[in-house]
Symmetry: C2
Subunit: 347 residues, 2 copies
DNA sequence: TCATTCACTGTAAGCGCTTCCACCCTCTGT
DNA sequence: ACAGAGGGTGGAAGCGCTTACAGTGAATGA
């Protein structure tokens, strides 16, 4: 720490000159690749210290032909779901010595270009659901960029990690049937693959019990979207009547945020939850536990999802594994009070 | 789209060869820098198309001496606060043509090295609160890397963006006094600069009313941390009695997550909120509105915080502005029911 | 004592791009 | 008809690093 103003960073040449050696030796000394005499190493390290030298990442990457970074594309960062996944992803990536570049697509005009740019900056990518259109996904796969698809049905020659949807949806629907409900509504459908799977599970159970499954009411997967959907489904729309003419006994929501919005709408319409209408979510975000009433939902392992994606990507990048792999993580039905009263309520 | 297997991406040399021109011309044609005959441009573009050429980001960056990317360091991505800020940040950064690299420090061993690595990958950095120790911040400043500090007291020669804390804390405390409370507890103190400012505001008001301000009970700024703090403050600790010997009438929490935790603890201890104890948060995260009871809190413009930081950083990087700047965004007291009953309750 | 070996070190060729500079060749103005 | 002005282009020098490859000298074994 001799120089308090190091300016814009020294290069390996200056270090070499100061240490009286060649740049090759400096590189070797720093990366422990190839032999370096103890004395020489000493001199190099001192010069490095004195100049507070840090190798230029750009130079290193260009020479090595790798970025030591990977990217992730998601629709939105608002709401806990994606944040949690990102958390798990970043954690593992860091552990594996990779930086993380993020790209959120919501409301973005030139998604294609942004994604292409991102691809050029990383060794591998994770893409969430249907944020990127199929043609581009295909282009990425063909460019041999390691790719992991998250929460989406697999694609040829790319990995996929997602959490179980259909079976847990069946469990959820079965539970609701156990409450005796016979009229249902589905809120939220964003063309997201995982949501579609959930509806499939629900439909299957309802059909199996002779109930004609309702068409999902599309809405944005946010509290606001859920609120709007809630007004429509529960009768607050201009017509004063619910869509189907009759108010459903239970509203199954695509995720927790939608459910929270529907609860707000119900409250505003003077309906009691779950007395007048049962409401369920999906994800088990923090607010689900703290909501009034607490939300019955399906917990998915959000962090783990990100973590697994990061590991899968690492294998692909390192070439440890070359055959594509598809992983499905288990979920868990969490019964709280929003779906109706229970003798012993889970907290 | 002639070739369905492009392999690992063509270089500018191959494009040049195919177009029958020099790489200099290809570069000029692509970046519109310098004159290129119409016919030539045509040939180049065709070759680019045929090879589906994308300039290597590494090459471009190395030649231009810029990354077109910036970084952000935050303690944790769990919880809505940081996610929201990140959202605003990434949005503006993308708009300005910069990628975003993220680094979360919680539970990370070699933070220093990770941060240094990050610095080497970007044109500028945003650092949250006290995630990075002062010496390193100083080192970054000296290295002339554009730097914006978020939610933290300014440092010489670096920008700072934060939201107002002290005055709104005074408003909050004043409001609570208006309810007639005389005994208070403060929950949460993570050495975060912004929290300290909040306590300062609260203390000032309490002192001004002849109330001896309590020492904050340190706890992690999470729901779990808040729960633990709540048990201690409200009497659920092994001793069976609150810390001060007497249960406080109001618990002012460092943020909403802590408040939610304290509410859980209160509930578990059979206490009514706000009947037996009033509780307030800070941030106005989504769950605050949906909690039972709904949380009185101070809303801070989380997205805007990120957005402003991104813009400030951009000015610094572009050199549009060279003098450091410090910006403080306004906050707003949101009164809901957790602090006591009100004639007309805000929703 | 001499041919080998081997620990060290330097030279230089990339990695893929941008951009200064020089060059050539049409157009102008006179 | 001729100097001068540009438009259009290629050559080549970087940007900062890694890493064959080719030395150098000292130590080894016979």
């Amino acid at each position: 720490m001799s120089n308090s103003d190091e300016g814009q960073g020294a290069t390996i040449y200056e270090v070499a000159q100061r240490a009286g050696v060649s740049i090759a030796t400096v590189s070797r000394a720093l990366r422990n690749t190839g032999p370096v005499a103890a004395g020489t190493r000493e001199k190099v390290l001192r010069a490095v210290e004195e100049l507070s030298f840090t190798p230029s990442r750009l130079g290193v990457s260009l020479a090595q032909g790798r970025h030591a970074a990977n990217g992730i594309v998601f629709p939105d960062l608002s709401g806990p779901y994606f944040a949690e996944v990102l958390l798990g992803y970043e954690e593992v990536a860091a552990e594996l010595g990779r930086s993380v570049l993020i790209l959120s697509t919501r409301g973005r005009a030139a998604v294609q270009d942004l994604v292409r740019d991102l691809v050029g900056r990383v060794d591998g990518m994770v893409i969430f659901g249907r944020t990127v259109e199929d043609a581009l996904v295909d282009e990425i796969v063909r460019s041999r960029t390691p790719l992991v698809l998250l929460a989406r049905d697999p694609v040829e020659r790319a990995d996929a990690v997602s959490s179980e949807n259909t079976a847990s949806a069946e469990a959820l629907a079965t539970h609701l049937l156990g409450h005796g409900y016979t009229t249902f509504a589905l809120a939220g459908d964003d063309d997201r693959g995982d949501v579609t799977q959930r509806w499939t599970g629900v439909r299957r159970v309802l059909s199996g019990h002779g109930i004609r499954p309702p068409a999902p009411l599309p809405c944005e997967l946010t509290v606001e979207g859920g609120y709007a959907a809630g007004r429509t489904l529960l009768g607050g729309n201009p017509g004063g009547k619910p869509a189907g003419g009759r108010r459903p006994e239970a509203v199954i929501c695509a995720d927790d945020q939608v459910a929270l919005g529907v609860i707000l709408a119900a409250e505003e319409l003077g309906l009691d939850v779950p007395g007048d209408v049962a409401i369920t979510g999906w994800d088990d975000i923090m607010a689900a536990r703290h909501a009034r009433p607490a939300l019955t939902t399906v917990r998915q392992p959000m962090r783990l999802l990100g973590a697994r994606a990061a590991r899968a990507l690492d294998e692909l990048i390192k070439g440890t594994r070359t055959v594509p792999n598809s992983e499905i993580l288990p979920t868990q039905l969490i019964v709280r009070s929003s779906c109706g009263s229970h003798p012993l309520e889970e907290k």
